[in-house]
Subunit: 514 residues, 2 copies
Amino acid sequence: MKPIALTMTIAATSLAANMHAAQQQRPNIILFMVDDMGWQDTSVPFTDTPTPYNRMFQTPAMERLAASGMKFTQAYACAISSPSRCSLFTGVNAARHGVTNWTLLRDQTTDEPCDSIIIPDWNYNGIQRVPGINNTFVGPSFVQELKDSGYHTIHVGKAHLGAFDTPGENPHHWGFEVNVAGSAIGGLATYLSERRYGHDEDGNPTSRFAVEGLEKYWNTGTFITEALTQEAISELDRAKRYGQPWFLYMAHYAVHVPIDRDTRFYQKHLDRGLSPREAAYASLVEGMDKSLGDLLDWVEKNGEADNTIIIFMSDNGGLAAGGQWRDGDLHTQNSPLYSGKGSLHEGGIRVPMIVRWPGHTTPAARCDNYVMIEDFYPTITQMAGIDPDKSTHYGHRIDGRSFVPLIDGTGDPSADRPLIWNFPNVWGLPGPAIDLNCAIRKNQWKLIYNYATGRKQLYDINADISEKNDLSASRPDIVRTLSAELGDSLRSAGAMRPLLKRTGKPLPWPDETR
Amino acid sequence: MKPIALTMTIAATSLAANMHAAQQQRPNIILFMVDDMGWQDTSVPFTDTPTPYNRMFQTPAMERLAASGMKFTQAYACAISSPSRCSLFTGVNAARHGVTNWTLLRDQTTDEPCDSIIIPDWNYNGIQRVPGINNTFVGPSFVQELKDSGYHTIHVGKAHLGAFDTPGENPHHWGFEVNVAGSAIGGLATYLSERRYGHDEDGNPTSRFAVEGLEKYWNTGTFITEALTQEAISELDRAKRYGQPWFLYMAHYAVHVPIDRDTRFYQKHLDRGLSPREAAYASLVEGMDKSLGDLLDWVEKNGEADNTIIIFMSDNGGLAAGGQWRDGDLHTQNSPLYSGKGSLHEGGIRVPMIVRWPGHTTPAARCDNYVMIEDFYPTITQMAGIDPDKSTHYGHRIDGRSFVPLIDGTGDPSADRPLIWNFPNVWGLPGPAIDLNCAIRKNQWKLIYNYATGRKQLYDINADISEKNDLSASRPDIVRTLSAELGDSLRSAGAMRPLLKRTGKPLPWPDETR
């Protein structure tokens, strides 16, 4: 009996050793998510040749990341924050999760009033992992999958997943073991420590958008972007001691309004000739970029560069409506893309994205195939070594498709794939393709349909990135085909649509009108 | 087709409604865990007639709970904190999880030096949910089961599950969505806000045992027991808004040393004639009891009394060694039980326990069957409506047995059941049945075996609660039977035993010596 027992012991030991080794070799992952960052808010060109905006912004860390990784030139998100972030966490398209506008207070919509239209009863309470809350989508969490599989999970910055007073407001609800400054808010009162990130001198919030959890930085002159970075690095130091693979969701409040001046960079941009408004915005962007650089430095100094995946992403296009914050004509701040945040034109939904995955991406690579925000769920879990065939996503279905084949060159999940947007809401700032619309992108074509006016726009995105030439009149065949596919997709997703106040009836689906 | 579709819609709606209703009806659960509270540190008698200690302490809230619930007169924990809490969270007996002494710093044991004995390589890094850390037990978490099944999970107070710089140090690692003041520490620097719970005026910790996360109570005159209670109530207010069933782990640092005076109650006990030392301890106990009362009030005022299970428990016996903190002869402070914290005599392991489960327990009920700390895992998950046949405990095996049958009167899981303790360590304070021993309780019998001396003690606990009459000489048959069962249980659990320094060989198992 002795030899057999001995063999079993050895086998068990080997198994444990292998498990240990496998755990050690799993890659760390940083998802660096910027808020409201436009496709052009960087010195990294996502076009064939650099643009004026690429020359205006200075983002050396993004350049460093792009030089060592893969740039995605057609990365899509939703047009505003909550839909994007809810898709990111659940892997579900916004047409199905129904968190179509931005969330804030429980049981209160954020839609602007509209005389003629009834906004549908969308999921203004955001996403949750448990049933029991009205107007919410119950879904899975890729972060919980990472945690359950052995990752240490760190949230730093903006969460914006569930409304105040719902369980989903808390990043710990989504599987994070650490949360720094994440809550129900989707914007911030101020970046300034002198204003205690939205608190008075007694520590009471002066705004619904006060950022909590950064008390130790109050009155220290630390811009919030820097405070969050220091907290993130402190957590990485801890994670290293833990010896687990880790996931850092570095979700900056930058570069959302208010465009406070990051004084570390502001004067330089003034000196470069930028106006005070543009210099302030460029300083906000560069402060964010400095954070990325600090994280790149950390992984290098700590010998983790070869074992850390870094994904850079924004949650929607740059703000180009309103006119209060930026120079230039309205809706031009993402040029050559048209319009911006809130819009289903490219300026609202196409965002800067870069992926560095040692051993997979090659330096200075570029991918022109399109990907969508809900694709991050299956992609990140696959990168982490979670077998997609074994995950049931806690009994939920996801819509996203892994873009690992695009990175590894083993396939094209975007070929003939329809991407869908649905925004049956009224956001607040007017502009081109903002409000009460839906859209589909398939191969080179994009159709935008306005529920209220019935207008359909058709663009050949590959030939006309600026969406100047509406081809809807000349290509009725494509309009018909895409209208049908969009209508089918929306209905099968259980999507909501606006109603006409006068009749109380829903407005037509895109394939119910010409 | 229409009628069928309609029926399906109705069915789906009913299912959702039922799920919602089921979620609403699941009971809230408060596990009120006191640190180092002895069996006699209360005015609630756990004996047939009240004892002098029952008259010395004043715990009106415990009386209220006992009057409306079920008292367990033979509730067992381990002899010190870490083993108990690790068993509580994982449902695994300490002989198997191997966290046999108290944990603190990573990769450092807390054993007192011993000239002749080598302490085995126990799991001094505590418990974790993931592999990759040496000297640790990887196990499941009943809190994660609660969270995954839809509970909102709140940790307030002492955690003490993993050593510093291991993932298990963080309550969020165990499935808590909220953590107030829980960390790797198993004791506290001070209860006093004037000493900022262990921080200097600049906010730097003055001790390894500084309690973090209660900054807002510093210098407010708030005893830590009260600060934790206020935080817990604030979290219950939030939980109520969430609309989920909730689990509150109210884990007081009280009544661990240092025995700081709770000035809300101290003078009263002096006036009652207690010595300063005993009055201080009685004030500490009464402050803890006031916390229980505040929680009982909260559930009543909020209409949750009929839907909230309250479980009162301590993690080990009262401190009776050392002599620095309490009056009376050493090892008498749990009288009629002998010895105290650290000992395998009843004074070290039998603890006060009360359960109120509306609709299940009857008022002023009493259960004399024995239960063990690892039983809380299957019991609480069963109470929460988690089907034991469907839970795999994340692929782990648990040792505990649900005591729901004892509450409902449907069975006796304690009949003929062996309970096991293993302490191959040297704690620090000497005393009867402290250090280098193991024990078994089965029906009325208890055998204690000392690894170092080979001594065996046998007691008939039902007849001799004070363990005055060692029957080992007169009942060698029982000694032999229990030694064999204890030895088998320890070996099958993979338990560790001390080694003799002189020979480097392990000391005999209880059934390897007479």
